[in-house]
Amino acid sequence: MIPKSIAEEFDQCIKCGLCQATCPVFKDLLLEKFNPRGKIQLARYYSQGKLDLSDHYRDIFAKCLLCGACVVTCPSGVDLNKVFVSMREEITTKRGLHPKMEEVVRSLLVNHNISDEDNAERGGWRDFLKDLPEHMYQKDRAEVVYFVGCVASFFPMAQTIPQNLVRILESADVDFTILAGEEWCCGFPLIGAGVPEKAREMAEHNLAKVRELGAKKVVFSCPSCYRTWHEYYETDLELFHSTQLIERLIKDGAIRLGEVKATVTYHDPCDLGRNGGVYDAPRQILKSIPGITLVELENNRAQSVCCGGGGNLEMVDSGLTGTVAQNKIEEIKRTGAKTVVTSCQQCIRTIKGRARRQKADLTVYEITELVLQAISRG
């Protein structure tokens, strides 16, 4: 059953179709069923009993980045994301998991992370750090917990992010700890796979672990973890994205930045910007680094176009993710900047991966990498 609150959302849709202007998936797949308006129609038809859920339904709703571009475009204020997530849950409940999401869900339930590795390996990214402090960033008590997230913990391409961030926090004397093997997936991929009740188990575990450490603040380098904690974890802990914390440290004079000469553009990750409301912090950081010139993308801030890595889409249709990423790279190229900065490990993987395959002349930086460079020159 589709809850009444969701039905109210799609009843508000006036079928104007303006959402197709900004949907990256529709722009590639072209058919109305992939248009957010079409998906709303299918949700409505299901809820009214006019159509039954089918594998086709599942495929249609899986081909969505949950990027929220349609949400900000909709003149009627329909929360399409809410409808799409709810439909994924309904489809999974009635017809089982999407075959291509089965593996990752199984791994999440067994290992509590999205890779197929033992969760005890979660702190493995530390192995490559020189001068590792004795506590190895794992303390019994700390003011701040750094929630690293699955991708940055396990995927080599993204492991530089925690490696950089801990160096930055150290240099600013922040009293922080990581949860290492006690950190479980935030639950975001489970929500995307249509099993939000499993995400709740993850939330409870993570909240309990943070409480045990007496921490008051949690910092995230992953925008999707940040968003999930905000939206689904009921907590009065102070939640920061790394860019917000770094911005504050710069303002307080705890970090000194030297010159890095570069013309860069900035890609707003969907879950940090549009879905998390954080647009200014990363831009302030870039402004604080002497020598950096920021050229905005055509579509920036709330209008930012997804890199293609959102909504579990890559698991279902990596080709489509590639096309969306290609469009992103074209947009980046049009700015004339040879460097793109972003603040999300998933965007890094998607954009960097695509740029490499295309042998594109493009440097892709996660913002902490640039900050650390500037610190080393400060």
Binding site: Q20, A21, L31, L51, S76, G77
Partner: protein, 457 residues
């Protein structure tokens, strides 16, 4: 219903991927921006002219209805299968074939999105003037089929004023060419203009040649607020009477202003009864003088507040109220019906008063947005489709509104089209002889009545 063998024949023309008949596909091509839904029998997505000719040949032979559809944003029910049949969607035919700056024109396929064309031609310092509110999604093919207008219409006119030529596949499958790249062309009947606004009933456009104009280097944007609607109307008359031709002259009435304020779209005085958004474009010097003169008119005619933007950011702020208007209104009730009555400019205050009167009489909530410079009104009826009793009252209010508009020398539709939304009102505007003439024209092109049947005729 269409037989399996016929389905296979269509499928063989476009390929399996582009012939759709699953329940999910049919559900998502059963609507456009208007209210009623009709499930088509199938959807076909051709990739080239040659395929369209073949499809039409088969459809004509087998008497299968074909309903052309662009982005499905029209609000007159022009792209739904009212009598069943196959929706022909143009998503794939989305190429700009040529931009010809020397001849100031462009040749496009029907599925090109209006804003994409605008963006491309801007690189050449050119502009395609028609700017319907749906321009970020609506297609040039759809714009031609509905003769779309837009806020810039006061100065620049509508689609018909920029349409130079067409390639058209007729229901028989034959391809004809009308017009061309020349601005002047008086050979024979003007079939190009006949196609423009034909709402998918005469032929399928496969190539469209449009006229472009130089992109104006500067513009001035002003906003004036009035505590009396008549003062706003007097300002409109004063501006037009002065010889200034604004690109935009938008009016927002009190009902909509209140909704925008509640919605958090913009702030303005509680005394506000009307808001005018005025824009002029052209050379920098003349735009500056015109802006000053318009500001003077606004003040002289009793505006309680006038703002003139001095930067693009400020201009964007002034547009905010107008841009948030539709969303604000749409969020008030589950459904909204946007109407399109149009009157000679001078009768604007009269028709607005009439609409306010009808709103009271029939207890329906109506907000008014108007392209005041060309008398094109968009009364928005805020309602709930599921409430039959209220919808009946709205129908009565609409009927009286259109009677009033026509008695003032106006029309049923300024830019949205008739479709299935207003076909029942056609006899108000046309005599039986005129309607019969239109039907006969339709029969000449489409003797078997397979193209968008059940639309306005």
């Amino acid at each position: 219903m269409i037989s399996t063998s016929l389905m296979d024949e269509f499928r063989s023309i476009v390929g399996n991927e582009w012939f759709l008949d699953t329940p999910e596909d049919l559900a998502t091509y059963s609507y456009d921006g208007f209210l009623p839904e009709f499930r088509p029998d199938a959807v076909i997505v051709p990739g080239k002219t040659d395929e369209i000719s073949k499809i039409m040949g088969v459809a004509n032979r087998e008497r299968v209805n074909i309903i052309p559809r662009g982005a499905g944003t029209n609000i007159s029910g022009t792209s739904v299968a009212r009598k069943g049949g196959v929706i022909m969607a143009f998503h794939r035919m989305n190429k700009i074939l040529e931009i010809d700056p020397e001849n100031m024109c462009a040749v496009v396929q029907p599925g090109v999105v209006n804003a994409d064309l605008q963006k491309e031609v801007a690189r050449y310092g050119l502009m395609y003037p028609p700017d319907p509110a749906s321009m970020y999604v609506s297609t040039i093919g759809g714009n031609v089929a509905l003769n779309a207008g837009g806020p810039r219409g006061v100065k620049y006119g509508a689609t018909k004023d920029y349409l130079l030529g067409l390639k058209v596949v007729l229901p028989s499958g034959d391809l004809i060419k009308t017009g061309g790249k020349t601005f002047k062309n008086v050979s024979g009947y003007d079939l190009t203009r006949l196609m423009c606004g034909s709402e998918g009933t005469l032929g399928i456009f496969t190539e469209i040649t449009v006229r472009l104009v130089p992109l104006p280097p500067a513009k001035a944007t002003l906003q004036a607020i009035y505590s009396d609607l008549d003062d706003a109307a007097k300002t409109v008359s004063a501006i037009i009477g002065s010889g200034i031709v604004p690109t935009t002259l938008e009016l927002i009435d009190r009902v909509v202003l209140d909704v925008i304020r509640d919605y958090g779209g913009a702030e303005f005085s509680r005394k506000a009864e009307a808001l005018l958004l005025i824009e002029v474009d052209g050379e920098e010097v003349s735009v500056l003088t015109q802006g000053e003169r318009i500001e003077k008119f606004c003040r002289e005619k009793g505006a309680i507040e006038v703002q003139r933007a001095t930067s693009p950011d400020e201009a964007e702020k002034l547009w905010q109220a107008r841009r948030s208007a539709f969303g604000a209104v749409a969020s008030v009730r589950p459904s909204c019906v946007v109407e399109d009555a149009t009157v000679p400019v001078k009768r604007l205050p009269d028709i607005i008063r009439k609409i306010l009167e009808l709103s009271d009489k029939y207890r329906v909530q109506i907000g008014i947005l108007a392209h005041a410079g060309d008398g094109n009104l968009h009364p928005i009826f805020m309602t709930d489709l599921r409430d039959k009793e209220e919808m009946a009252r709205i129908d009565k209010a609409m009927e009286e509104m259109y009677e009033a508009a026509i008695s003032m020398g106006g029309t049923l539709s300024g830019e949205h089209g008739i479709g299935i939304a207003k076909d029942r009102f056609m006899p108000m505007e046309f005599t039986g002889t005129a309607i019969e003439l239109m039907r006969r024209i339709k029969r000449v092109f489409d003797p078997n009545n397979i193209l968008n049947p059940g639309s306005f005729l």
